[in-house]
């Protein structure tokens, strides 16, 4: 083969490989995108059981992402936390409605059933080789552990609780404090921040609390943004009801 022809063939192959790489990259991005979509939609099913709103999931993802970034976690870990954190309560799918939606006065037996959601949620992801679902399993299992060792299901203490679990433990409680529930009114933003602060070293990792307090302004923006979203959706729903 003449040198000129060889050179031309080489460039042709190079171009084909380049195009294939671009297509593969695009296909991979599409798969990742669909993966993330499934994570959000599946998480929403569990939230519906609990009468929570989708904005709860958005807040958990946003709060957790903000704290993770401020703690200088790698971009990959921040991303895992962003998506995996929304699956923290997936185990509630297997808790009976009669217990989950009881407004008050849970019996000790009923409390034990609710506690099982941590293990049940983790079992959903058991055996998965996906890095994202491994993180989801970790978070589902440990987000109710307490820094002082008095949490559940395993009574893990301090840094034995994975960092992802320590972060979601805080963001989940903070969101619960600032949300209205059947058994309580929402606490104000600053009041809830103070309630988190006093639990530093007890319920929550002091380092995570420190970062949370440093990020307070951004956390407030996230909290306000989702209030705006909920108010907007409610207003529009009322408008449509009036029109009909």
């Amino acid at each position: 083969m003449a040198a000129k022809e060889r050179k031309s063939r080489f460039f042709e192959y190079e171009e084909r490989i380049r195009k294939s790489y671009i297509e593969l990259k695009k296909a991979y991005a599409e798969v990742q995108d669909s993966y993330a979509e499934m994570v959000f939609r599946l998480a929403l099913v569990a939230e519906y059981k609990d009468d929570s709103t989708g904005t709860h999931l958005v807040r958990i993802a946003d709060y957790s992402t903000e704290i993770a970034r401020a703690m200088n976690l790698s971009a990959k870990d921040v991303d895992y936390l962003k998506y995996a954190s929304v699956m923290h309560d997936i185990g509630k799918l297997v808790v009976p409605d009669s217990i989950l939606k009881k407004p008050s006065g849970l019996t000790p037996e009923e409390r034990e059933v609710i506690k099982k959601h941590a293990v049940l949620g983790a079992n959903i992801f058991k055996g998965s080789r996906s890095p994202l679902l491994k993180v989801a399993k970790l978070i589902a299992l440990t987000h109710h552990e307490r820094y002082d060792g008095t949490g559940y299901p395993s009574g893990l203490k301090g840094k034995d609780i994975p960092l992802f679990g320590r972060i979601v433990a805080l963001t989940d409680v903070f969101d619960a404090l600032t949300s209205e529930r059947p058994y309580k009114e929402a606490y104000g933003f600053d009041e809830a921040v103070e309630m988190i602060r006093v639990e530093s070293g007890k319920h929550f990792d002091p380092e995570v609390v420190k970062v949370f307090l440093k990020c307070k302004n951004k956390i407030r923006k996230i909290w306000q943004a989702t209030k705006d979203i909920d108010a907007f959706v409610k207003d529009k729903a009322n408008e449509q009801r009036i029109e009909n």
Binding site: R41, L57, D62, V233
Partner: protein
């Protein structure tokens, strides 16, 4: 995040790419302000390049929608990826905003108004 603004027969098409988040939403808000100041009434937000949107990003869209309504304008959205679409869905904003699969469909509907 990158934003490209172009005009198509009186419709302002805002092509957004990257992540629309608490850190990048202020930049998007500046573009939205420009559109409002130009008194543009029909706006299409092209999301094909957007790979994530958070609560601040969604709130900036709501704010824009409200401000446009004041000047009798309207905003449509198109080309949301499955992930971004699911975020709109879980916040129920997919029931509020006019969202189309393609730019062509969205423009057809916008021109007709």
């Amino acid at each position: 995040m990158q934003i490209k603004l172009k005009d198509s027969d009186g419709v302002a098409i805002c092509c957004i790419s990257g992540e629309v988040t608490i850190d990048t939403a202020p930049e998007l808000k500046k573009t939205f302000k420009k559109i409002i100041d130009n008194k543009t009434h029909k706006v299409l937000l092209d999301f094909r390049g957007v790979n994530y949107i958070d609560s601040s990003g969604l709130a900036s869209l709501i704010d824009f929608s409200r401000n446009l309504k004041i000047i009798q304008g309207m905003v449509f959205m198109s080309e949301l990826s499955p992930k971004v679409s699911s975020i709109f869905s879980i916040t129920k904003l997919d029931k509020i905003f006019r969202i189309f699969d393609t730019e062509e469909e969205a423009l057809k509907n916008l021109y007709g108004r």
